[in-house]
Amino acid sequence: MKKLTSLFLSLLIVTGFTGCTQNNAQQNSDSGNNNSAKIGDVSVFYYTYSDTYISSVRSAMDKELKDAGLKYQNYDANGNQTTQTEQVQTAIAKGASVLAVNIVDTGSNDAAQNIVNLAKAKNIPVIFFNRSVDESVIKSYDKCLMVGTDYEMAGHMQGEMIGNYLVDNYNSVDLNGDGKISYVMFKGQEGNLEAIARTQYGVEDADKILTQAGKPELLFYDEANQNRYLVDQDGTWSSAAATDYMGTILAQYSENSNNMVELVIANNDEMALGAIAALQAAGYNNGTGKTIPVFGVDATQAAQARIADGTMTGTIKQDAEGMADALVDVTENFIEGDSVFDGIDEENIVGNWRINIPYEKYTG
């Protein structure tokens, strides 16, 4: 029996490894490396595979890289900067040709600078993408570039969208007719620049438009809450956090007591969908009857479907394909030694160190 088990275990391990190697071989032939001048892999480091938006970037990247005939290798840092830095070291040791890094730690420059220094020592180009890295870090190395979004822009656009929507539909949104709109804001994570900007501008910009139209500013549903937002305590921008919060809010605030929350703003679509689930349980946003306007960011497919059936109001689209497109263009330019910004839309280039992929409003 003992022998049998150990045999079984060894078999498991062996098949595991051969399984992996087969996969790798397949990937290599898949990516069809016809151009022998291109040495080494394009190594792409994602901050976490669990992020829905990053998953769309990854699928778009895989496709673009394959189409461009480049060999590539993906890494998942699973939200851990130490893991990512070690992955970068491994890739450099393996002889990577270009590093595309979706940095984990955006709180300080150290992690990004560390990666730049590692790459600089071996003269390997580094392209940071999606999560922002400081100008000083990028400019410390001539083969370094940032492909991102203007991280404040999503918040600004969301605020503008909300402001305009409210000006057009003020009376129907103002359920208790007190002349003010009470709202709730769901923040994805503490200490994340994008979350902070979205939380701030989503409301501020809406207020500007409301004030211009002669309407009062938005009112946070709970006056005692000094933060003016509710945050996912696990920092995962998750729908579950929004569902639990929204359910708790609806237990205390309702139309019957004349203090119903009249507007829901979320940092991302996941949280928007979570809030909708709780609203639906309370009899709102079911397609028929009353709908509380809910706004998100990302335009995930699930959110687009919600907007199409009228249970969600609007979102801001982060262009995953556009980002992958720009990334692969720049990668090719680095490999072929062309000018770095070849083939990039000029109005998206910022100060010779950064490419910003524009956001779009999405209301169906």
């Binding site: 595979y49 669990s50 005692a224 809450n225 696990d234 996941e270 969908l273 979570g274 689930a277 699930a302």
Partner: protein
């Protein structure tokens, strides 16, 4: 358990005749043994004075719903803790089963349906599938724990990674590309979060009933079956249990399978309750569940624990969550309060254990 330390009821006169020292000891023991109930009572009174709406009907229903949604996973983990183990793969198992449930129960013709040709599967079939998935997770966990005498922490640390990888691969199926699974069929959402009955204008969701049934079933399994007795025997002393003819291997594997089934049920409920499942669904669920068990007196020392304790533990955590929201306290405080309560609960628990020794 420690019957000698609890004041016998209806013997107040006898209590008064005791010397002062004994009286004091009995009182402090009673205080410690019921610490959680006292904390809950104080918390409720304090929050209600500050925000009276805390005890309104809709708020009570909300707290009970939150408790119900988090109960099955905690009941599952509790069994593993009784065996002096733990299970940190629980959250990921919930995530996987939630994703599978959601993917199999999307509306026919939904634009981003994972399996476009599937239509909508019958609920019972999906329920059986996710229970089977949970059971397989439990089987693997239990097998490695029982067969190789590995600590459950290590085993479930490994399986948690394997499950996460599986979730990521599962979400890449078809044209899904790692996207959130949404667009659920009404039969599914109605079965879980539809209205069971309306009381005073407040709708009570159906999953409260399911959670209640599961709790009763688990109570029967723990207290009225041979398997339950074996579980406690193995938990308090594996060697002794083995000598007295308990099949230790089978008991451990069964406890983990039962836990896995609970995760499957939790996933099935969460899939519809939240209505959008992604790779981050279920993350960290196990830490709350383990905390709830510990707070409720399911001891890491093994061999002790009650279903009612688990329910109380989950309930207390939800009271803190809702209460701090009602009090508009910053989320930062929640971590601190939660940490302090878990620490206090463990200390009280160990005090009992040491006293018994």
């Amino acid at each position: 358990m420690s019957d000698n330390s609890i004041m016998p009821q209806g013997k107040f006169s006898a209590f008064r005749e005791l010397p002062g020292k004994d009286r004091k000891r009995i009182l402090t023991d009673a205080l410690f043994n019921n610490a959680m109930y006292i904390i809950i009572a104080f918390a409720i009174i304090f929050i209600t004075i500050r925000v009276p709406a805390f005890l309104s009907l809709s708020s009570v229903v909300n707290i009970i719903s939150l408790t119900a949604s988090k109960l099955p996973i905690a009941l599952g983990i509790a069994g593993c803790i009784v065996l002096t183990g733990t299970d940190i793969s629980a959250g990921r198992a919930v995530g996987l089963t939630a994703c599978v449930s959601a993917s199999l129960l999307q509306i026919a013709g939904y634009p981003n349906k994972m399996f476009p040709d599937l239509g909508v599967m019958p609920l019972w079939a999906v329920f059986l599938i996710v229970i089977a998935i949970g059971a397989v997770v439990g089987l693997v966990n239990g097998f490695f724990v029982a067969k190789f005498k590995l600590h459950p922490f290590i085993v479930t640390l490994s399986t948690q990674l394997i499950i996460f990888g599986t979730i990521l691969m599962y979400l890449m199926i078809g044209t899904n590309n790692g996207q959130t699974l949404s667009g659920l069929d009404e039969s599914y959402t109605d079965f879980i979060r539809g209205t069971l009955f309306t009381i005073g204008g407040v709708a009570v969701p159906k999953y409260i009933l399911y959670s209640l049934i599961i709790t009763i079933l688990m109570w029967i399994i723990w207290n009225k079956t041979k398997f339950g007795k074996n579980m406690f025997a193995v938990g308090s002393n594996e060697e002794a249990a083995n000598v007295s003819g308990v099949n230790v291997f089978l008991t451990i594997v069964s406890v983990f399978i039962l836990a896995g089934i609970m995760y499957g049920i939790t996933g099935f409920i969460e899939g519809a309750r939240i209505a959008s499942s992604s790779a981050s669904t279920g993350i960290n669920y196990e830490s709350d569940a383990i905390a709830a068990c510990v707070i409720g007196g399911v001891s890491f020392v093994g061999g002790t624990g009650k279903i009612s304790g688990v329910v109380i533990g989950v309930f207390l955590l939800q009271i803190i969550f809702v209460g701090l929201n009602f009090l508009s306290v910053s989320a930062n405080m929640l971590y601190i309060i939660k940490g302090a309560i878990i620490l206090a609960a463990c200390a009280v628990d160990m005090r009992k254990y040491l006293a018994r020794k």
